[in-house]
Each structure stands twice: as structure tokens, then as C-alpha cells.
């Protein structure tokens, strides 16, 4: 068996679609033998559709994918696919996809390029890609978690690579990587241009109002004062 299997979604709310994408990414990285990658366009090997949506074209669904599951309830009484109950989580998704993978048996697909979201740990920091937030994440992604809020805040300010994010946040690599994958799943990240392009853009940018001169020790002293 070679290559990756493609899984997509249809008719799901943006937040749920983002969650599925993020879970697929996490399983890609952490589950042995997981051969699935999220795809945003057909053809699919497996397609997850929103169960209550009865307006989905059944014929096109059959053409677009080799296997299907409806989320929450069967799309129709004669629904030929599986049903995955809400709320969706990694275990349910993995169980469904494992079943599909086994049912499809031996197959050949074209290998899908994995997006280099977090680079190999031995790559030089200067070569690691930098990412920045496109917009503030939805509340259901942050869950009021102060660590996630901190990571998102840092990335809202400027583009950071994994090493810089770990250093600034003082959080372990695993937590930073997991959050990056979640942001990527919600399509909230934009990769920064190269360092040369950044310098050119900064030189061309209009001059911002002057900021106070801040020395690094100030931040820590203010945090100490407030007990942060």
C-alpha cells in the first residue's frame, strides 16, 4: 500500500470542518499506520457529510468518493454509508477511517504531499517557516485556555517559527505543534514571506507612530509585580 488516502467534508459548518481537518493532521503525526490526509476537493476516498442536510446531491456524492459517512444522522433512510455521532472526536474519526481503510483493501493512490507545517527538529532555525495568524481564532478553539491565548497572541503580532514560538511562550514543543496544527486546520495561518522579502516590505511600509523604548527586563518586572 502506498500513498495517502483522501478524506474530505461536505456541508459541515466551518468550525466543524476545521476541527476535522485539525484532527486528521494530528492523527497523521501521531497515529502509527494512519494513511489519511485531508483534501479540500474531490475525488475523495472517504467523505464526511452533514447528516441533517437532505439537499446534498446523492449521485454526486457517489461519484466524488468511494466511501461516505454522515455526521449525526443518516442523510436518508437508504443511506449506504456509515454514521458518525456528534460531537466528533479523534477516536470516532479514527474508528471510521480505519474501517474504510480496511474495506478498501489494497489500493494504489498518488502520494499526496504533506504540508510542511512543523519542520524537522534538526533543521536550522533560520530555515524554519514562519507563520502568522490571519485573524483571531474562534472561541471554541481557544476554550479560554491561557496557554492557547498566549500562543495566539504571539502569532497575532508577527510571524514566528516553531523555535521562536516555544522560546517566547515558554511552552513545550508538543503543545506548540498541536496548537499550530489546530490553527492550520481552521485555516487561520499564513506563511510569512522570506526574510529578504520581509526586509523589503518593512523598508517600504509607512512609518508607524513612535513607541516607548522598552527594555526586556521591564516585561518581567511588570509580570512579577502583578504576580503573572
Amino acid at each position: 500500500m502506498s500513498g495517502l488516502l483522501r478524506v474530505g467534508v461536505l456541508g459541515l459548518a466551518e468550525s466543524e470542518a476545521g476541527l476535522v481537518r485539525a484532527l486528521i493532521k494530528l492523527m497523521e503525526q501521531n497515529v502509527n499506520g494512519f494513511r489519511w490526509a485531508f483534501s479540500s476537493q474531490p475525488p475523495y476516498d472517504a467523505l464526511l457529510v452533514d447528516g441533517p442536510r437532505t439537499d446534498l446531491p446523492q449521485d454526486l456524492l457517489r461519484q466524488a468518493s468511494r466511501a461516505w459517512a454522515s455526521l449525526g444522522q443518516p442523510v436518508t433512510a437508504q443511506w449506504p454509508g456509515d454514521v458518525v455521532q456528534r460531537p466528533i472526536n479523534m477516536l470516532k474519526l479514527q474508528q471510521w477511517l480505519s474501517g474504510v481503510q480496511e474495506a478498501l483493501g489494497n489500493f494504489e493512490t498518488e502520494p499526496m504531499p504533506l504540508e510542511p507545517l512543523a519542520p524537522a527538529q534538526d533543521s536550522a532555525p533560520s530555515t524554519q517557516p514562519r507563520f502568522q495568524l490571519k485573524r483571531w481564532p474562534p472561541a471554541e478553539l481557544l476554550h479560554g485556555d491561557k496557554h492557547r491565548i498566549r500562543l495566539a497572541t504571539l502569532m497575532s503580532r508577527r510571524a514566528l517559527n516553531l523555535g521562536e514560538l516555544m522560546s517566547l511562550s515558554r511552552l513545550p514543543e508538543e503543545r506548540c505543534v498541536t496548537f499550530l496544527h489546530l490553527l492550520h486546520g481552521f485555516d487561520l495561518l499564513v506563511q510569512a514571506p522570506s526574510a529578504a522579502d520581509s526586509r523589503h516590505e518593512q523598508a517600504a511600509a509607512p512609518t508607524a507612530p513612535a513607541r516607548p523604548r522598552v527594555e526586556r527586563g521591564l516585561i518581567q518586572r511588570l509580570r512579577d509585580r502583578l504576580g503573572l
Binding site: 472561541a139 491561557k146 504571539l154
Partner: protein, 179 residues
């Protein structure tokens, strides 16, 4: 000895005075008068500014300023925001159109927001779930801004600390970029 400042702004009743009181080491100086705006039930409103203080080890000071909330005092906003460490915009989700208020502050501070650390604190979200925090983010995105939007209760010191900590994280990210 160096002096720094953090600015709190937002509509009348959004909690600027309360937020400063939650963290200031001195009782905040409050320049309140009776509120003669019949559209708002608040008994008093700030017509000058609120003032709080934090003294750091080594003697440096961080002054906390709260701006008057009405748009007619925007001349004060532009004076106060100069050379500030960051800006906290407080919003009251129980008001009729909090997103319209946000637009006022984004417009009033638009020049500074190109580089100034800023966080949006939204109050009373438990009882008033609309607009959602994501709608605030959408307004910011329309202004080309990516700023933290957090649900807070400024009567809780920990929530005010979260707002300030979020500002400080932005300053740290900028320092890293300037290095």
C-alpha cells in the same frame, strides 16, 4: 526612573474604572460626575480620566489611564495614547450595538493600532451572548487588524491580569522582532 503607561478605553459603562481599580496599587483617582446622558442608566461617568499606578522593582512606574468613553473626548484619546505600552479596549455586550462602539475606537486609534499592542476585552458575555467574540474578530479583520478578543469580567482581578498579560505578550513578540 522610567515611566510607562497602559491605556484603558471603551464605551461608558464598559468597566474602565473597575478594571483599573482591580490592579492599581493605589485607589484610582476617578474624575466622575453625575451622568446627564439619559440614554445610559449609569449614575456617574468619567469626564476627565481615571488614573491608577503600579510601581515596579527598581522604581519604574506604570501608570494606568482610563479615557472618557464618549467620542467627543477623542482629542484626549490621541494625547493619552502617545508613547503608551498598550491599549485595552473594553466592550459591554449588554449594550445595544457594541460592535458599533468598537468601530469608534478602532477609528479613533487607527494610526496607533498599526503598531500599538492592543487587546479587546468583552464583558457581560454570559448573560448577553450576542454579538459573539468571533463577530468582534470579524470587525477587526475588516480593519486589517488581528487583535486578541477575550471574554472578561473586569470585577475579577484575574481577568484584568489576563488582559494586561496579553498586552505584554504582544510587546515581547515585538521585541523579538526588533532584535
Amino acid at each position: 526612573m522610567h515611566e510607562y503607561k497602559i491605556l484603558f478605553t471603551g464605551a461608558m459603562g464598559a468597566g474602565k474604572t473597575t478594571a483599573i481599580a482591580a490592579v492599581s496599587e493605589v485607589p484610582p483617582v476617578v474624575t466622575d460626575v453625575l451622568n446627564n446622558d439619559v440614554s445610559n442608566a449609569k449614575a456617574t461617568t468619567t469626564v476627565g480620566l481615571d488614573y491608577g499606578l503600579l510601581t515596579l522593582e527598581g522604581g519604574d512606574r506604570v501608570r494606568l489611564f482610563g479615557t472618557p468613553g464618549q467620542a467627543r473626548f477623542d482629542f484626549l484619546w490621541r494625547i493619552l495614547v502617545r508613547n503608551s505600552l498598550g491599549l485595552v479596549i473594553l466592550s459591554d455586550n449588554s449594550q445595544a450595538d457594541p460592535l458599533a462602539h468598537l468601530e469608534i475606537y478602532l477609528q479613533g486609534f487607527r494610526d496607533e493600532l498599526a503598531s500599538l499592542p492592543c487587546v479587546i476585552g468583552v464583558g457581560r458575555t454570559e448573560a448577553h451572548g450576542s454579538p459573539r467574540l468571533d463577530e468582534y474578530a470579524e470587525v477587526l479583520a475588516r480593519h486589517g487588524l488581528v487583535l486578541p478578543v477575550l471574554a472578561v469580567d473586569v470585577r475579577q482581578r484575574d481577568d484584568v491580569l489576563l488582559l494586561i498579560d496579553t498586552l505584554l505578550a504582544q510587546v515581547e513578540a515585538q521585541l523579538e522582532g526588533d532584535a
